[in-house]
């Protein structure tokens, strides 16, 4: 009987013995908005990984016959009744006065949407070639779910392919700043005194580093050979070295307040090493703040990328990122005449919101008192 009792661990005990992280996880599951956000983020990142497959067209699918075309209409019905979803081919016409191009559907032939259909070839994850796409239609019809740009490229494809840059680089950048910020901030805050002063001064000098000339210098110095994407990665990493300062300062101030807590004093007296104290006792104390901060930084970097493209300093065509797409979208001509080019903005907003709600959920989950 005694054996059985010790073996049976009931839920309550599970709760008491559970690690910090599994506690968080349980609570996270209950936070509805965070759940949606996680789903959205998973969808976006999956789309990013399989971008070439998910997109019906490539980055270089120029076609003058379908420039600035509005989103393709998907039909279910025609005169003959109901069918599987299909589209019509476009016929390009031109207003004789304003020379504005507009498109008329050629209702003579139906082009059904093919799942896993054949399209342009591409390298799947850079490994092997394939020509299957998630959805596509036969030429000469096109399926532009978000319309096309001024060179006839599918905007949805560009968004999906562009996310490969826009979703990874911010992660890399934030990750690096995060590590740096915490390490240096905690050292500074924990040890105080001279160490703190020196580090703070260094932070100040770095903080006032003008990022703009650095960018300009770097983009000029990099030879033409490196693909634009790599260049941007380099630059972002370098810049993340500068942005860790904000995090470091806040970590430090938190540290300075926590330093005086009793449990820290107790740990010290008990002979726990400084490093262990920082890691297992202090950091968890304000991790919720860090989590909020981190999830707020990722969107910040996403927006930063778009701003840099606006200034002409970040990713430039022919590479594609959401920043590039937005830079094209913001021209008055596009806002006035071809508003579908603003769809990348929706993606940016949704991604940013998703990260924020996710961070929110994490924060609530990490809150030990709820």
């Amino acid at each position: 009987m005694g054996l059985l009792k010790t073996k049976k661990i009931d839920n309550d005990e599970k709760y008491f013995f559970a690690s910090q992280w599994s506690l968080m996880f349980k609570k996270l599951k209950k936070h509805k908005l965070a759940q949606i956000s996680i789903v959205i983020l998973i969808i976006l990142y999956t789309q990013m990984l399989f971008a070439q497959f998910v997109s019906p067209y490539g980055l270089e699918s120029f076609d003058s016959k379908v420039v600035n075309a509005p989103p393709t209409k998907v039909h279910l019905f025609d005169d003959e009744g109901i069918h599987l979803p299909f589209v019509y081919a476009y016929e390009q016409k031109r207003d004789p006065e304003t020379f504005r191009k507009f498109y008329v559907e050629d209702k003579s032939k139906r082009y059904p949407i093919k799942l896993f259909g054949k399209g342009e070839t591409y390298k799947f994850l850079g490994l092997f070639e394939s020509d299957r796409h998630l959805f596509i239609v036969d030429e000469p019809a096109k399926i532009f779910i978000f319309g096309s740009d001024k060179l006839g490229r599918d905007i949805f494809s560009r968004i999906a392919l562009g996310s490969q840059i826009s979703l990874t680089i911010p992660l890399a950048g934030v990750f690096i700043s995060f590590i740096l910020g915490i390490t240096i901030g905690s050292i500074s805050g924990y040890f105080g005194g001279m160490v703190d002063t020196v580090i703070q001064r260094i932070i100040e000098v770095i903080r006032s580093f003008p990022t703009l000339p650095l960018w300009m210098a770097l983009s000029a110095a990099i030879p033409a050979r490196i693909p634009v994407i790599q260049m941007f990665l380099f630059i972002t990493i370098i810049l993340s070295f500068i942005s860790w300062t904000g995090l470091a300062r806040t970590v430090r101030s938190k540290f300075m307040s926590l330093k005086t807590e009793d449990y820290i004093l107790a740990a010290k007296v008990a002979g726990v090493s400084d490093f262990k104290i920082i890691l297992t006792h202090m950091i968890p104390g304000f991790i919720s703040y860090l989590v909020v901060n981190m999830t707020l930084s990722i969107p910040g970097m996403i927006i930063g990328e778009t701003s840099m493209s606006f200034l002409g300093l970040g990713i430039r065509p022919p590479a594609t990122s959401w920043g590039v797409l937005l830079q094209e979208a913001q021209q008055i001509q596009n806002i006035a005449l071809y508003p579908w080019k603003l769809v990348p903005l929706l993606y940016v907003i949704i991604t940013v919101l998703a990260f924020n709600f996710f961070g929110d959920g994490l924060r609530d989950a990490a809150d030990p008192y709820k």
């Binding site: 949606i36 020379f99 200034l311 002409g312 913001q330 001509q333 071809y338």
Partner: protein, 668 residues
Amino acid sequence: MKKGLALFIVLALMISMFAGCSNNNNSAEASGSEQESVTTEQTTGEVQETQKVEVDTETLILSEAPELAEKVGTGELPAVEERMPKLEDIMIEPVFDSIGQYGGDLRFPWRGKKDKWTLEKMTEEALFRFKLDGSGVEPNVAKGYDVNEDATEYMIYLREGMKWSDGVAFTADDIVFYYNEMVLKETFGKSPYNCYYSVNPETGEKTLADVTKVDDYTVKVKFADSSVLFLERLAIDNKWMFAPKHYMEQLLPHIVGEAEAMKKAEEMGFSDIKTLGKYTGYYYWIVQDRPTLRPWLLKTDTEAAVARWERNPYYFKADAEGKQLPYINSIVCQKIESSDNIILESIAGNVDINVFELTDFTLLMENRDAGDFRVTQWSGTDWAGNAVVFNQGVEDVKLREVFTDIRFREAMSVAVDRVELAALVTDDLGSGQQASVPEGLVNFKEGWADKWSDYDVERANTLLDEMGMAKGSDGFRTYKDGSDFELNIFQIEIDSTSEMGEFEALIKKYYEAVGIKTNIKVVDSTYGEELIQSNGIVAQTFVPALFNVALRPDNIVPIRNYRSWYGSYGLYYSTHGEQGEKPEGDIALLQEYYNIIQSATDKEVVDEYSQKIIDLHEKNQWIIGYTSPKPRIVLVKNNLKNVPSKLIYCDEFRGYGHSKLQQYYFGN
């Protein structure tokens, strides 16, 4: 609840986004314009002429703008007859449409000092200016001229009674002073202009002209050798050959001494004497209170949120009815940095005239009613809309061998589908063609625009194979010796919000389709300039423009370190062999022919050798063009009159200035 609300908001956003996308239904009534690629009327070199004027100026009764009349009334200004030249010497400015009326302010946004030349050209008054069709020059500030048989002596006649904008008389003294005390003494940071030299046909030696006063209104310009094109070259190089003596002699260091000059510099806010000299002598139109002969004078700081150019009460031109020009009271320049903002303000109707890109055409046309303006097109002197050049003087030996091989250039020309390219890059508003002298300009050659303009990938591959540039295992071609070949095409940005690199992306696609590995490198204008100066540009997207080889050849003849396609050959010429590299073959011929032109003793020789230079370009096609020259799209507010609907818009003709703003007026 929260979930639902979030979903709802997102959906609402998406729906509103697509709701605006139902544009494809609007213009369904457009009939007749089926599949033809409609091109905008290429107003190649056509000009709208001004109304012919036959006026006996001595019978004119002068009148003036109401504000000026008021000032005459209060005694602030002398009467209009005293402010303008004497009747028989007044210049009548013919109008494009009709005699105008006084009033109004011309709203023209600018970027401040960066756009100083735009305003300069709008208000410029040259000694002799180009005729509307560019076929020669006509008197402007000068009344006329005489030239002797061998073109070594020019007599220039001025207008009696003409005055500077501060009321002081404008006489021959101002011309002689400018030449002797400013040009020769290099007081404004420039060495004497090319036009003032005559070239000895045998020795090639250059000598400066002698400028002397004959009487108050006559100046003699004497050359050691013939200078057949003196007046035209003057109109290109220096434009104005005068300066207000009474003003300048108070601040030139060699006249008043360095200390006094320095004091003046500080008073006027300049850092040193050189800058003082540069601004009062060269960029003088943006120095307030510096007397000029222009129709409008700057009255505010250039960086002000709104800069104002006010009417010059002493302006020397009148219309055929004796009304002193300009009609318009002032030019008002709001400081706007970004071109997107300018478009927005324009379609909102807050801009009276502006020149736009071809791709803005549709947006402007759609908003004509909203903004109450009309859209017209002016032509330029570009040889193409988009072109690529390969540096013929590139330092890398292997690259040079490839670039100077005419087969390479032909291959890269025929490897591109111009029809598709033009359709994409110009939005079907232009067409594909080779870089050549446009129709309507002198040296135009029928058929040149079609040279190497077919889309012939097979031929391109054959040529490249012939050159020994075999394809490697990765599909890209290598040099004859097997080493990797890579083409770096530089794109120099003028400002960051401009061109999105579509042309370059497309070129890359076509080049790589025939096995030429291509990289597009975008650089800002500063770095680009640095590269040009140090001969670091391998290949570039560049469009040459010129209207007359004899007068302004530096785009197509290497005479100074100016363009990347001729490496350092231009530097060699301008430094007389001290720096740069000596050219050979046809490029050397270009320089040789230009020398002959400079020392020509009659116009036939000039024309002959100009043609020879152009022929060399046709033969070698150093500049490979892909699309047709882009017209300039001009927005004109509906109530702004006397704006020509056809004009040659180029730098030599001073841009907007050629349309003679002093006769614009606001009417109904």
